[in-house]
């Protein structure tokens, strides 16, 4: 059973997308992702729907004659992309609830995964969580594997705290091939922590894209006016506040500064950055916002 955003129409539109990589050369064995002409034994692998820009020589006219739809043939060398999706599963991703923050992050990850699977590339999902062995799925390939991915992502529940670099380091030990890395997190951590983590990803020669997932309640906290005792969802640390307009303003300024610094760091590091607020439509974000910033083509 597919989650709600994944309607047949949505899936159909995802199939028309392809992950864009900044690097032409991803370190694959047989060729580059973007050069279908190399190699002599082109092994047919699958079909995918025609997207503007595809080579017309690979159109399957037989399918067109039968169904009036354009499909291109895929050959194995074209699918040699390894995508690694890292999902933050710390306690902060469960605020205000797992269903309102962690689940949308997982859905975005699934959308990415489906795009990769629809292009007959490899995808593996890593759950970033401290304290447990590095939880990662096996590599999946083929559209039909999406259900296994869904099953993989439905089991865990976010919790606890972690140091991003340390946890990423554990996961990166299992990476043998360079490829595309997509990191979904709220990045509610000190800047030094996320910088170390992202630098670690860069050191592994991964083409990194970052999606910051924030809840509306984190952007505009709905604290009652007056005295309030705030408890950290990861560390259970408490802080007493007298919430009011001044404090709200100061919090928003701090958050905005942090996000700005994150975006700036990503830009300087050549990392794609986008922000997803959980009250947005996932379909609109995946199909319009992400292509607009160049994550898809």
């Amino acid at each position: 059973m597919l989650p709600l955003p994944f309607t047949p129409d949505f899936l159909g539109r995802l199939e028309a997308l392809r992950l864009r990589t900044r690097k032409e050369f991803l370190g694959s064995r047989t060729g580059t992702y973007s050069s279908p002409r190399r190699g002599t034994s082109l092994e047919f692998a699958d079909y995918r729907r025609y997207a503007p820009g595809d080579d017309l020589r690979y159109l399957d006219w037989g399918i067109y004659a039968r169904s009036d739809r354009l499909y291109v043939k895929l050959f194995r060398e074209e699918m040699d992309l390894f995508a690694y999706i890292f999902i933050d599963a710390s306690g902060s991703m469960a605020f205000p609830s797992a269903a309102t923050k962690f689940s949308p992050a997982c859905h975005i990850a699934l959308a990415f995964a489906y795009v990769v699977l629809a292009n007959h590339d490899h995808v593996r999902v890593h759950l970033l969580k401290d304290g447990s062995p590095a939880a990662a799925s096996p590599f999946y390939r083929g559209r039909h594997k999406i259900l296994e991915l869904i099953h993989f992502l439905s089991a865990p529940s976010p919790g606890g705290a972690f140091d991003l670099a340390a946890v990423l380091g554990e996961h990166l030990k299992r990476i043998r091939r360079p490829g595309k890395a997509i990191l979904l997190s709220d990045f509610l951590m000190p800047s030094s922590s996320y910088q170390r983590g992202l630098n670690l990803l860069r050191a592994f020669n991964l083409d990194i894209s970052v999606i910051q997932v924030l809840g509306r309640e984190e952007i505009a906290p709905p604290f009652p006016r007056g005295g309030v005792r705030v408890v950290d969802s990861e560390s259970a640390q408490e802080l007493s506040l007298h919430w009011g307009a001044d404090l709200r303003r100061e919090y928003e300024q701090r958050l905005e500064r942090h996000n700005r610094e994150l975006k700036s760091f990503c830009h300087q590091a050549g990392i794609d950055f986008s922000l997803f607020v959980t009250d947005q439509e996932i379909g609109e974000f995946v199909l319009e916002t992400l292509p607009r910033i160049g994550l898809f083509r």
Partner: protein, 603 residues
């Protein structure tokens, strides 16, 4: 704008209490948040109360309460005030002093303020309440009304027996007054849009001379004795000096101690003869009017009797009584002889065409008479009952009261049955209104001086009783003076204030007894003096004035646009604000509770 219930504004003092719930420091709510990274912390407050924060809801609640208080104060607009009536209570109690000014003067000043606040186009009708509720002037301009107001004075009269609530409402409606101001010292219950009561005066202690009689110890005595009664309407015992004056000179004085709410009597004997007497209390009390009382000496020494009988000798036994002078005429001559100076008329076996104006005794009157119909003849009647105690039956041994002949009586108007037999009353007396009358169903005069002592004593008793009725205590203010047969030209009445009122021929009553004092009745060269005294205990009691109810006032025929009552609309606005507050507050509460539950479930 005016307020019908300004006392509601005292609720404004409760408004600061609204702030108290916002001052009380509440236990800080515990909420779970994703990260404390960007939250600036602050040290916990040490004071027991929290920082005062007044949310918009507080001001909404404040506005709601202000509107409610305003609604309770019943604001009304008087668009125009052109026709007003001023009813001034000018009864005797309004002469009581309040800090140097009489209540009437205070009421007059307040009425002047009201008149002064009218526009030049306003018109005023002035009313007074004594001797009756009547209009003094109508349609006066404010200036004219003020002038007339200055000439009004209080009378020495009690309150007229009128239902002010009904009377004033009727006045307001019939005359379409926009406002009717009733200035009085009585407590008034019920205010309304049209009729407004203005209270002047507070409860006060008071003493009053409630009775002053002059009597002769015997018929032939040349000296007089005074019987004075002083009543206290005070809450404490009073020691007071009573002076008795004759023609202005002090003849005697006494110091009396009167217990609270009690009466005390004083007798002063051996008074020399004067034309008029005055009993006066030297007291600083609420009302000085009732500290004086006047009396006139009985007309002559002895008892002048006019006997009207077809048998002149039947009354001759009366001549044996010292001090009694008797003149007997036939019944036919009675009408011609009514002007004589006698103080008692005895109708023996006769009855006049009209009831006499002087005290009268009727002995075995004809069967048909207006006082008591004569019944069956009785031989040797037995006495079954007698009125006791009563001056007529004093010292009489009715066991020995033997009569040979009598007729039972059937009173035709309410009177006191003095002596009764099994067959009916034998003696009936009337003394409450007008002159005293006594009807006997038997003839006492044959027994006078003979060996029937009880009947003789009874005879002396009724002679003394008739003489008491002429004790000169006078009439009451407000009651018309009986002029007798004032047929002569040149008859006039001079009031204590020196006003002379000619009496037209044929007039028998003088109604203008508005002031206490000695009235002179001038008939040509003759002058008679009558004492008229203020006699209204309710007016003298300044502690317990009778409350006046003004129920269910109608708006009158004034157009609805003249008075616009805001309070129903203010109340409606308050209710709408209350509903708005509920709708405003409920979502906020639900949002906070939902977020709190979400935050809690995150951990």
């Amino acid at each position: 704008m005016e307020f019908l219930n300004p006392a509601a504004f005292s609720l404004l003092f409760l408004l600061p209490l609204l702030i108290i719930p916002y001052l009380i420091k509440k236990e800080p709510r515990r909420v779970i948040f994703s990260s404390l990274l960007f939250l600036p912390g602050s040290p916990p407050a040490s004071r027991p109360w929290g920082r005062l924060y007044l949310p918009p809801l507080f001001f909404l609640q404040l506005l709601l309460l202000l509107l409610l208080i305003l609604a309770l104060a019943e604001p009304v607009f008087s668009v125009r005030l052109l026709k007003v009536a001023i009813v001034l209570d000018n009864s005797a109690s309004m002469q009581a002093l309040e800090g140097g000014k009489s209540r009437f003067e205070i009421a007059r000043d307040k009425a002047a303020e009201i008149i002064g606040s009218l526009s030049a186009r306003g018109r005023v009708d002035l009313y007074t309440t004594a001797p009756r509720l009547e209009r003094s002037a109508a349609g006066l301009e404010p200036g004219e009304a003020l002038k007339l107001l200055g000439r009004l004075t209080p009378y020495d009269l009690g309150e007229s027996q009128v239902d002010y609530g009904t009377g004033l409402s009727r006045l307001a409606k019939e005359n379409s007054y926009e406002r009717l101001f009733f200035l009085t010292d009585h407590e008034v219950r019920g205010q309304g849009q049209v009729i407004r009561a203005v209270l002047v005066g507070r409860p006060k202690d008071n003493l009053a001379v409630t009775s002053f009689r002059l009597v002769r110890p015997s018929f032939g005595s040349s000296q007089l004795a005074a019987r004075v009664e002083v009543t206290s309407f005070s809450s404490r015992a009073e020691k007071v000096r009573l002076s008795l004056k004759g023609d202005g000179k002090v003849l005697s004085s006494r110091t009396l101690t009167v217990a609270p709410l009690r009466s005390v009597s004083a007798s002063i004997d051996g008074l020399p003869f004067h034309e008029a007497y005055e009993a006066e209390l030297e007291a600083r009390d609420g009302l000085s009017l009732d500290n004086r009382r006047f009396a006139v000496a009985p007309p002559a020494i002895g008892l002048e009797i006019l006997g009207i009988s077809p048998r002149p000798e039947a009354l001759s036994s009366l001549r044996s009584i010292p001090g009694v002078r008797l003149r007997v005429i036939s019944p036919e001559d009675y009408e011609k002889d009514r002007g004589a100076r006698h103080s008692l008329e005895i109708f023996h076996f006769s009855f006049p065409a009209l009831l006499p104006e002087k005290p009268a005794l009727f002995v075995l009157p004809p069967k048909k008479n207006p006082l008591a119909a004569a019944g069956d003849a009785l031989t040797g009647p037995q006495i079954s009952a007698w009125r006791e105690p009563h001056p007529l039956t004093r010292y009489v041994n009715f066991a020995l009261f033997r009569l040979s002949y009598a007729r039972s009586l059937k009173p035709l108007s309410p009177g006191d049955k003095i002596i009764e037999s099994p067959q009916g009353p034998l003696a009936v007396a009337w003394e409450n209104e007008g002159p005293r009358y006594l009807v006997l169903g038997f003839d006492p005069f044959p027994y006078l001086g003979r060996e029937n002592l009880p009947v003789s004593i009874f005879t002396l008793n009724f002679l003394g009783w008739f003489q008491e009725g002429t004790d000169g205590s006078g009439a009451a203010t407000g009651k018309p003076l009986n002029l007798g047969s004032a047929r002569a030209e040149g008859t006039a009445v001079v009031t204590p204030r020196g006003e002379r009122f000619p009496v037209r021929p044929g007039a028998r009553l003088f109604p203008r007894t508005y002031f206490q004092g000695l009235y002179q009745i001038v008939r040509g060269e003759e002058k008679g003096i009558v004492a008229v005294n203020f006699q209204d205990i309710k007016e003298s009691d300044l502690h317990n004035s009778v409350a006046i109810n003004l129920p269910g006032q109608e708006r009158g025929s004034a157009s609805p646009s003249l008075f616009f009552s805001l309070w129903p609309y203010l109340l409606l606005a308050s209710l709408l604000l209350l509903i708005l507050e509920w709708f405003w507050n409920a979502p906020i509460a639900r949002t906070v509770q939902r977020d709190y539950r979400r935050a809690e479930s995150g951990l």
